[in-house]
């Protein structure tokens, strides 16, 4: 039966013909960034604003890269993020499933999750420092909290949004509760979980930098804090740009993983 042709129109046939080609988009992206840097160079070299020029920032970046400070700072920040983030996700997914699957668990856990969600993780830092000291523990704990809270809600939403008809379809094919959980609930909530992972990673990254500004002996946030004391604007810029680039790379990696894991989704 020839009933499917009309639904398989290739994506490129829709939208603006010039912009829909990936290379065209990328070229425009690059031009936009180059123009932005040129503008930055223009306003700073004429002294319109008291900020370092792109060249000064690049020189500072080379110095920091050569003496290894840039790498050790980035590694320190990334290490904290991955430890806290991984712990957060590892706990959030089973807890989210529990909340979605058992009403009792939801009733017990939800008030805590909803309450702590309203507190910015950074506001926990003073308490964490007082109770856990000033080494790695309080920072990792705060990142854990940030990624846990955003992922647990997403996972729970995923479980309760699974189409009832799909569960019934599995049930009439003979599936018991465990099979339904493993073969329907888990895959069906995966897109939601991935949204939670993405948001969790973003909030972990912003939390680590802020935590390092307050209390740390290493990391990109700590470097900025030090530079601030000496009015070293170039170093602040190097740290800021590194934070942005690393955050972007991590987000793209999560998106790529998501694209592979949920390729089956019908995109509207």
């Amino acid at each position: 039966m020839a009933v499917m042709e009309s639904e398989n129109t290739p994506e490129s046939a829709k939208g603006l013909p010039m912009l829909s080609r990936p290379f065209g988009m990328l070229a425009i992206n690059i031009v936009a960034v180059v123009v932005g840097i040129l503008l930055w160079g223009l306003v700073t070299s004429f002294g319109v604003v008291g900020l370092p020029t792109p060249l000064a920032v690049a020189k500072q970046a080379v110095i920091q890269a050569e003496n290894g400070l840039l790498w050790s700072d980035a590694l320190a920040s990334l290490g904290r993020v991955f430890t806290g983030f991984a712990l957060g996700i590892l706990v959030a997914i089973p807890v989210g499933f529990l909340m979605g699957w058992y009403k009792i668990a939801r009733a017990i856990i939800e008030p805590y999750v909803q309450f702590f969600r309203t507190i910015p993780p950074l506001a926990i830092i003073p308490l964490a420092i007082v109770t856990m000291g000033i080494d790695e523990m309080p920072k990792i704990f705060v990142i854990f909290l940030a990624s846990f809270l955003s992922s647990v809600v997403a996972t729970y939403q995923g479980v309760i949004s699974v189409d009832r008809t799909m569960i019934n379809a599995a049930r009439v094919l003979g599936a018991n509760d465990f099979t339904i959980f493993r073969r329907v609930i888990v895959p069906a909530s995966l897109p939601y979980i991935m949204v939670g992972v993405r948001i969790g990673l973003g909030s972990s990254w912003s939390t680590v930098v802020a935590a390092e500004l307050i209390a740390a002996q290493s990391g990109l946030g700590f470097r900025m804090q030090q530079a601030q004391l000496y009015y070293d604007l170039a170093t602040i810029f190097v740290s800021l740009i590194s934070i942005g680039i690393l955050g972007l790379i991590m987000d793209r990696i999560v998106m790529a993983i998501d694209g592979v894991l949920t390729a089956w989704q019908e995109k509207l």
Partner: protein
Amino acid sequence: MTPKISFKNVRKTFDIAGKTAFTALEGLNLDIEDGEFITVVGPSGCGKSTAMNIAAGLTMPTSGQVLVDNAPVKGPGPERGVIFQQYALFPWLTVRENVEFGLQIAGKPKDERRRIADHFIELVGLSDFANSLPKTLSGGMKQRCAIARAYAVNPKILLMDEPFGALDALTRVQLQDQLLAMWSKERRTVMFITHDVDEAVYLASRVVVMAARPGRLHKIVNVDLPYPRTEDMRLSAEFSELRNEVWRSVYHPAAAA
């Protein structure tokens, strides 16, 4: 001969604060013979989907019971296949994996699963799409995949809840013919819910007409047209007479006693 499916005084009400707020089904009595193809037609709120869900074991009746082979239905089971209007395919599985889903649960070995799945995928004409994901299929193809999936676990009964309701008119007619062709090769007892009077008459040996508020059986119309049904039959005088009879009883039922 004992009926394959037997509704015994099945009543379903939805209660709010201990009071009956809505009577979905009021004392339904209906026998469906082994190998019979019946359609159930009626306005919305007549309880036709409720009746099917109770037979499927997905909904419990307030009182009364449904017997399948003389045993009361206590829950869903693979001997009663269900086909839903929304297809309910697992979108992360390919067509073949969807069809194999029930076989895997039944613990069938891999090569047997594959053989059975491919047989039914071929019967519904999806062989070229066995490795495709549901998102690449049209609505009609999705429903054919769902039919293959239901058939694969070898149910004795097929319960179909407005399966072609979301399809365009042409695809709908094509699928009706395919379903009947399949039914003649792989005979099962079929209870097919629809709101389309033409479809009800074309498919069934008996059309069960239901009425709403409260949901109840109104009339049973025998369709004395031989199988296989053909396009000529669809255009015949007997067909339109039957259709008119069903139409009148659906849209102008006598008031509830």
